[in-house]
């Protein structure tokens, strides 16, 4: 069976089993990967998979089962297991499936893997880096193409099909000088054109250039007084993911622990900060068309000029909180460019750091965040000076958004986000 036939088979089985409501997503996927490790292009991988997820509701109680087979016998068993699980579940009036709006078929991205092109791109990248940045040593490099064809059906008549393909590139490396080594540095991108050199995607070239200056590092003593932190686009992406998890997603809004639960329409960030979630953007190869719970997505603002405009709430989360379901559930952030050149952001920094990676514990419920500033440089009197090691930063996510001082004109598009550099004050920076 293809994925449409599988989803139809499961939906019929759900109805036959006496469920009141149900939904099924059936998908076929093919992954092609060229992988570099331990000094060589070591593996070519092709992965064929099928996934079927079944959710049903009977007497107000839900059961959900996942499997990766289209064997009718196994599909019947999965539906029977979901019925059995629902029988013992706790009734929940907010459990439901998506309502019918407008059915659609979506096609997005490069659907056909170019295996030769992937190999050539990786070989060219390795050779270019060896020639231009000889002190760089790779830990691993992956070039993938993923194709996923899926069908979503539910008992309200919702029917979506989606064909989505595209390339992903990820690299982890370090710089070496004799026995000395830099920290791991990670980069990557999502894209549709395998002919564009990998080194030109996202922040990759910049990370390589900075990496070679990170073998020698400086340890600062005590606190860096008056410290300001310039977050790189990679760091901004991490902080946005933390903000989403801690303040605007289902779990923290349902249990009431989000600091922003009553802040829709209120100022939660500096007025210069505008963050949109744009899975439909043609600029983002990593965008998507459908939510997991059966809705076509639209782009939306999350924070506009510092004011909280939207949460990222699923249908269930919205029903539980009495709020509106979000137009999408995040994962494709675009932050508006500021009006300051990165160079000027650095030159106006008397004392601080520019941070490319945050290695820290997950933030607590109150947004407190502490961790190590990785791949980072000291800024002294407006100049980037030494690479740093063993420097920790400590602050609070909510406070950091209000303490944004400047946003760069320059932005980086890595295929899943378009983000600038952001300068934040009042972060504790401490050394040994």
């Amino acid at each position: 069976m293809n994925n449409v036939q599988t989803a139809e088979y499961v939906l019929n089985a759900i109805r036959s089993a006496g469920a009141d409501k149900g939904e099924c997503t059936a998908s076929d996927s093919v992954k092609t990967e060229v992988y570099y490790e331990s000094g060589k292009i070591s593996m070519l991988r092709s992965v064929f998979n099928t996934n079927v997820s079944v959710k049903l509701i009977k007497d107000g109680k839900k059961g959900r089962v996942g499997l990766n087979s289209t064997d009718p016998e196994k599909l019947d068993k999965a539906v029977a297991n979901a019925i059995e699980a629902s029988a013992d579940a706790i009734p929940d009036p907010e459990d439901d499936v998506a309502e019918l709006t407008e059915n659609a078929d979506f096609v997005r991205g490069e659907l056909t893997p170019d295996r030769e092109g992937m190999y050539n791109a990786l070989r060219a990248f390795v050779d270019t880096v060896k020639a231009e940045y000889p002190s760089i040593s790779f830990d691993s490099i992956s070039v993938e193409h993923n194709l996923r064809e899926s069908t979503y059906l539910n008992t309200n008549g919702v029917r979506f099909t989606s064909r989505r393909g595209g390339y992903q590139f990820s690299v982890m490396f370090m710089a070496k000088d004799g026995d000395k080594t830099s920290s791991f540095i990670a980069g990557g991108a999502e894209f549709d054109d395998i002919n564009k050199p990998l080194i030109d995607h996202g922040m990759v070239r910049r990370l390589l250039e900075e990496g070679v200056r990170q073998v020698e590092t400086r340890v600062i003593e005590g606190k860096l007084e008056g410290g300001e932190v310039i977050l790189s686009p990679t760091c901004v992406a991490e902080m946005i993911a933390y903000v989403q998890g801690n303040f605007i997603s289902d779990g923290v809004l349902m249990d009431g622990t989000s600091l922003w639960k009553d802040s829709l329409g209120a100022e939660v960030a500096a007025p210069c900060f505008t963050w949109k979630e744009c899975p439909c953007s043609p600029e983002l190869a990593g965008g998507y068309s459908l939510t997991g719970d059966g809705y076509a997505v639209k782009d939306m603002p999350v924070i506009e000029k510092g004011v909280l405009k939207n949460f990222t709430l699923s249908r269930y989360g919205a029903a539980k909180t009495g709020l509106s379901r979000s137009a999408n559930y995040g994962g494709c952030p675009i932050v508006d460019a500021g009006d300051t050149a990165l160079e000027d952001m650095i030159s106006s920094t008397e004392s601080g750091i520019i941070m490319n990676r945050f290695s820290g514990g997950s933030p607590g419920a109150n947004g407190d965040i502490t961790g190590v500033a990785k791949n980072s440089f000291l800024i002294e009197k407006g100049r980037v000076t030494d690479a740093l090691s063993e420097v920790m930063i400590s602050g609070n996510l909510a406070a950091m958004l209000k303490d944004i001082v400047e946003i760069s004109r320059e932005r980086v598009n890595d295929g899943s986000s378009i983000l600038p550099w952001i300068k934040v004050r009042n972060v504790v920076i401490s050394g040994k």
Partner: protein, 461 residues
């Protein structure tokens, strides 16, 4: 139970080095958030894979249709991938040294008899207990989580292995309003290796531990922030495992060593206090089965303990066949894959700092101004040996006595510098069994150790 369609390939005489692996990962998860059942899920990800090595180039392919006909097709696809890569890279490497034919039987055979109903009723009763006894909680989350990984492996060396490693956990998170008007939370897993009924009897058996968790989160709500800086601290035995894993374990995985980790030039050198011995146990430690018992790895290598640090000297790495050959070591069974569609990577199994002879109370009494860190969150490692992990709860130590409770913080240091500061190790050992390590693929791991006294960089305000 997986059907053994692979056995017929034992003695099949593959023309190239080949691994065939069938695998089924089954998961079950029930989650209650403030009494709302947000998950009532079960899933199975099953299929098989082939990995073929031609002159040093690996070809890999996998499919979910685990039938005798498909196996031939996937072997051919894997071989074709290897041939393609070999034709481009021309590595010209010789085959691996053969291992003797062997058969490793299924050792864990207990059937998972706990129904979804049992999981639901168990955590519902726990949730009701928490809700009734602790009404001040802002939020409570109770989760039952079971993962079972069953594998069948056949290699061109005529190794045949069948393994099954289940693990079952109940996890509880509590959130309270802190003394500064912001929420604080704590999360604790209970359980370990085995099916649900191996680990859990009745919910009331956990009440005492639930009460202890509430006492900690209540203390944390009144807690203070750690002072940042280089401090003398004691890591509770629950944290020593993550120290072994993050600080040392990742640094000595041979793929990291080959790419340039700081452990390369440190081999044979003093990298820790002579009190420190660190072992990645294969399957059995101190006479008991470890949280992730590996008898044969996913390359068909018989698993044995890997001694990483012996009396403070860096004595070994963790290997797959490729790295062992390159660096001149014997592989010890660290090549593991998470899903049927994943290739084996060098992974830790049960990484443990061996206990010492000190008493925890003497360790606390020996510190004038420092910290006792008790609960941990996530952690990360680095090529430089610099590591970090989150600390979610602990206490100040003032003049040899436990003082005020602490809010969240992070500790960080350079592994081989921090380990040289270890001057006391407690005589007790705790295994953590709920760890999930991330490195291209997720992987369940065991982590263990005693309470450790050392000096480390503390993040704070």
């Amino acid at each position: 139970m997986l059907k053994d369609h692979l056995r017929k390939y034992v003695g099949a005489g593959f023309s190239e080095y080949t691994e065939l692996r069938a695998q089924s990962n089954t998961t079950r998860r029930v989650t209650l958030l403030n009494g709302n059942m947000i998950n009532n899920d079960s899933s199975e990800s099953a299929g098989f894979s082939a990995r073929v090595r031609v002159n040093g180039a690996y070809g890999f392919s996998s499919g979910s249709d685990y039938t005798p006909d498909s196996i031939e097709r996937i072997i051919a696809a894997a071989r074709e991938n290897a041939v393609f890569l070999d034709s481009r890279e021309r590595m010209g490497k010789p085959p691996f040294a053969k291992v003797p034919p062997m058969s490793s039987p299924l050792r864990y055979t207990t059937e998972d008899t706990a129904s979804q109903k049992r999981l639901i009723e168990f955590i519902s009763e726990l949730d009701a207990y928490i809700a009734a006894k602790y009404p001040k909680l802002l939020s409570r989350v109770v989760i039952a989580n079971c993962l079972d990984m069953e594998k069948l492996l056949v290699t061109s060396d005529d190794v045949h292995s069948h393994s099954d490693i289940p693990r079952s956990h109940v996890m509880v998170q509590m959130t309270l309003m802190g003394n500064d008007g912001t929420p604080v939370d704590l999360f604790t897993p209970f359980g370990g290796m085995g099916v649900f009924d191996d680990q859990f009897t009745t919910p009331d058996a956990l009440y005492e531990k639930i009460d202890a968790l509430y006492e900690k989160v209540a203390a944390k709500a009144e807690g203070v922030y750690a002072e940042p800086g280089y401090k003398e601290v004691i890591l509770h035995s629950d944290l020593a495992g993550i120290l072994a894993h993050e600080a040392v374990g990742h640094t000595v995985e041979a793929d990291f060593v080959l790419s340039g980790s700081v452990a390369g030039p440190s081999f044979g050198k003093q990298v820790a206090s002579e009190k420190v011995t660190l072992v990645d146990f294969a399957n059995t430690a101190f006479g008991k089965t470890c949280p992730q018992p590996i008898y044969v790895d996913d390359e068909g290598t018989p698993a044995e303990d890997a001694v990483i640090i012996k009396d403070g000297i860096l004595s070994g790495y963790m290997h797959n066949k490729e790295s062992a050959e390159k660096l001149g070591f014997k592989p010890q069974g660290n090549a593991r894959a998470f899903l049927f569609s994943d290739e084996p990577l060098i992974r830790m199994r049960n990484t443990c700092i061996l206990p010492g002879k000190d008493k925890l109370e003497d360790m606390i009494a020996s510190i004038d101004d420092g910290y006792y860190f008790i609960d941990t969150g996530n952690g990360q490692a680095d090529a430089t040996g610099e590591f970090m992990f989150g600390v979610n709860f602990g206490y100040e130590i003032k003049n040899g006595k436990i003082a005020r409770p602490l809010r969240d913080t992070t500790i960080a240091g350079v592994a081989f510098e921090v380990l040289k500061t270890v001057d006391m190790l407690s005589d007790e050992l705790t295994w953590g069994s709920s760890g999930m390590c991330g490195k291209k693929q997720p992987m369940p791991v065991g982590m263990g150790g005693p309470a450790v006294k050392l000096k480390i960089n503390v993040g704070g305000r």
